[in-house]
Symmetry: C2
Subunit: 124 residues, 2 copies
């Protein structure tokens, strides 16, 4: 479910990350979960969640006291796919991307092997 093609901004994506992690949360909880030096104001987070709701990326689940709970309405995977695709377009494919990762030390040879092994296993 969840018809995709929803474009998210950086901050919106960050909020979605929190929701994917927590499963369900209030505005307050999302704000608390945002781990930054310049933490946004409560109402800022509220606005973002509201926009996410309008975009259909988030939905209300229930109410506790007078606080609403929200949960993701789109999958993490679909959003990642979009982000990754965009990046791949720019850098010219996944090969160059991974090469860049290895080259810049962000991914070790051991990591590569581990991924390989896992992939082989899940494939069969």
């Amino acid at each position: 479910m969840a018809s995709e093609r929803i474009a998210l901004t950086k901050f919106e994506t960050e909020v979605m990350s929190v929701l994917w992690r927590l499963g369900e949360a209030t505005v307050r909880e999302v704000q608390d979960a945002i781990d930054r030096n310049d933490r946004p104001a409560y109402t800022t987070v509220q606005t973002i969640i509201q926009r996410l709701e309008q975009k259909g990326a988030v939905r209300r689940t229930r109410k506790e006291g007078n606080a609403l709970f929200f949960e993701p309405a789109i999958t993490r995977k679909s959003v990642y796919r979009r982000l990754v695709d965009e990046l791949l377009d720019l850098v010219g494919g996944s090969q160059p991307l991974v090469a860049h990762l290895v080259e810049s030390g962000k991914l070790s040879l051991d990591d590569l092997k581990a991924i390989e092994k896992a992939a082989k296993k899940s494939r069969k």
Copy 2:
């Protein structure tokens, strides 16, 4: 060279890609090189290049007739690094990212092996 920390928008990055590819180009040449169905107007490209110039991402090289030539003033690598880092932050590291690539069929096991081999070679 080229003090980094320059944030580029999507379109700006696209223009930079053209410049990295061509090495040097006029506004007209950049516009022609943009390969899209909804190609932007000449003046639109002009504006983007102007903004890139203000940001220090691009510099004028010479004049031919009354047309200016521009060249990149920052490296492709530094921009990629920024983009990749942002994505990594979001998806939670390079391991998950590569796993996602493999899983979604964007990267084959053969690709992985090739990268591994190349990395080993360049390392020694």
